[in-house]
């Protein structure tokens, strides 16, 4: 009896020892930066004060300032529009390309490569390309619209509020849809062809097969990829920074852009960190929600 308990204790110690490196890594790489951000947000600290031995007084001023600034709520709204808009678009784009690539046709490998290509393009380069495409004078989009007679005068897409948001949403969706494509393709390969054939024999048309067989089979993949893509969109800085810089006015200023500007352009690290904490809380809410949904989906 004693021997058995001794062995169990030993086993528990061994397991704890094995888990120790992972726990330390989590503590070092995840908990420490979060703690640091929280600590910075609770002090009035400029970029120059970091690493200098200056005593900093505890203050809630950054949060007070944040919550009374209409600009913060505007940026939160822009974040929601950008994140939901670009993720939805990328989702549909990814689903369409995955359904296309799941079929057998000549040149499928080349098309697969072309579809995945935006994923390989660095975000900054991709955003620059979209910036040129939407250019008010020389952009390809304007050229096509003018040639087709859709518009009489070129549209300065990145200069008008609504068009600017639309442009950055489109550019970000273009950069992120290959992720959905890959995930959905993997999901589709799991789908049994017999199931689709059975539906076909039962008289289900292509749309009904998609709606009642294919999409339900992809639910888990959709949840995981959608959730990861939402988190990536919350963090995105490059697309907006390169294309509009948060403008015109502040029409495309998301929370991530504000954090970048406050910290690295205006050197107000404390205020930037307070917004970072808000972005973290937003992500945390999303994670908790997704975790609940996924738990229900996977484990009933």
């Amino acid at each position: 009896m004693f021997r058995k308990r001794g062995l169990e204790a030993q086993r528990a110690r061994l397991l704890a020892l094995c888990a120790l490196p992972a726990a330390l890594t989590v503590l070092l790489l995840i908990a420490w930066p979060i703690w640091l951000t929280l600590d910075l947000s609770l002090h009035r600290v400029r970029l120059f004060d970091i690493l200098r031995d200056r005593p900093l007084a505890f203050s809630l001023r950054n949060y007070q300032r944040l919550l009374v600034e209409p600009r913060f709520w505007d940026s939160l709204w822009h974040t929601l529009v950008f994140v939901i808009g670009s993720t939805w678009l990328a989702f549909l784009w990814g689903l369409a390309t995955a359904l296309l690539l799941a079929r057998q046709f000549a040149g499928r490998v080349a098309v697969r490569l072309a579809v995945i290509l935006p994923w390989a393009v660095p975000a900054t380069i991709g955003s620059l390309v979209w910036m040129f495409l939407f250019d008010g004078n020389l952009g390809l989009v304007n050229h096509l619209l003018l040639s087709a007679g859709v518009v009489a005068q070129p549209i300065a897409f990145l200069v008008h509020d609504r068009f600017a948001m639309l442009a950055v949403v489109l550019a970000h969706a273009w950069q992120s849809y290959p992720f959905f494509t890959v995930m959905f393709l993997a999901g589709l390969q799991r789908l049994s062809p017999e199931l689709l054939n059975a539906a076909k024999v039962d008289g289900a048309g292509p749309w009904q097969r998609l709606r009642h067989v294919t999409l339900p089979a992809l639910t888990d993949v959709m949840l995981v990829s959608g959730f990861l893509s939402l988190l990536a969109a919350i963090r995105d800085v490059e697309t907006i920074l390169v294309m509009t810089g948060g403008g015109p006015g502040r029409a495309t200023e998301t929370l991530a852009i504000r954090i970048y500007n406050e910290t690295f352009r205006f050197y107000d690290v404390g205020f930037g960190a307070a917004q970072g904490v808000m972005a973290f809380l937003l992500s945390l809410l999303l994670v908790l929600f997704a975790f609940r949904r996924l738990s229900r989906s996977f484990w009933g």
């Binding site: 690493l51 200069v159 403008g247 690295f264 050197y267």
Partner: protein
Amino acid sequence: MIRTTRRGALALGAATLAAPALAQSQAMVLDMPSYQLREGFGPWWHAAAEAFNQANDGLRVNLIEVPYEPHHQQLTTRFIAKNPPDLCHISARYFYGFADQGFLEPLDRRLAAIGWKEVDFIPAQKDMRRDGRVYAQLLLGYSYGLYYNAAMFEAAGLAMPQDLPRDLPQLLAMAKRLTRDRDGDGRTDQFGLAWPTANSSATYAYLTYLITGMGRDWVEEGRLLPREVLQQALEAVQTLLRDGATPPGIDTNPARQLFWQGNAAMIVDGSWGVAYRKDSPEALKPALRVAPLPLRNQAAGPSNVLAIPADRPAERKDAAFRFLALIQSPEWQRKYGEIGGNPPARLGMVTEEARRLWPELPIFEKAAAESTSSFMPRGHEGDFSRWSAMVAENVTAMVAGRVDAAGAAAALHRDLTNTFF
């Protein structure tokens, strides 16, 4: 014996060959990252570094090219990490923040030792004082001109140079008149005056030209300029946009490209603008000229400076100062005009040779000497980034059509007042 002699000879040969390399490796290398190593200024920096390396055994200035924005971000990081480069080439917009944080070395003692006098330089050198001490050597003072395409003026029936605009209303009227649809496809392909209104600090700079052009300053006697003046300046921008005289939302480089590639009749730019002429089509070059800015006054002030960091060993700071002493000397200040075509900070250094090589130079030299307004918001230089971002936000809101000039002026005035006053 023969073997010994051969070995000795080999050793001697190897030592002879290795000596310069050894000396090179033992030289104190002074790192100087800069964003000015290509265009008009680049050849001057390279020549000065080469001359310094030749004249100073055991010392070598190592020029490292970094683009403008990353350069200042890297400098900030290196200052904070207490690992700054030996020579700090800084845009004046960032200088104030660095000096105020104590990152730069006061130069008074060393400058006094070489007989340096502030009065030998343009007035903007005085701005390099913080708390009464000198922290940097000014390299260039801002001065601007009106670049114009004489062929476009003549095609519009205007005589050159008599019909050049002489004041702001004339400039706006001329910009409208020179805006054309050359190929008749219903779209403007010749803009009257390329004017940046992007979400960048260039928008601040161009609005500043208008404010100072009206004889005003951002900060007057410690107070923000009146909202009405701001509105007048914004109305001028709105007029250009309404008349289609400039494409909306462009930044400086696209604006320059429009002018230097023959798609805009005018642009306001600094003395460095002349360097872009080399990229213009040959047939276009003779028509591209410069005239004094047709405004009452113009923005002046420091453009870029050379400083020494506080967080370096004393012997490295002494060595770095020797390079600073070289570039501020009359010889190298004269070469600043001759090699780069820009007016040097030291007064009276523009030579006949420089004037021959760069015919536009006297225009900028005169502008720099006459301007009295400041390019920077006086007393708020350390917060330039936030200030210029507020200007850009409100101007782009106007460009987007969300507000008119009055609305943009009111919002900008309120934002600046709430934040800085």
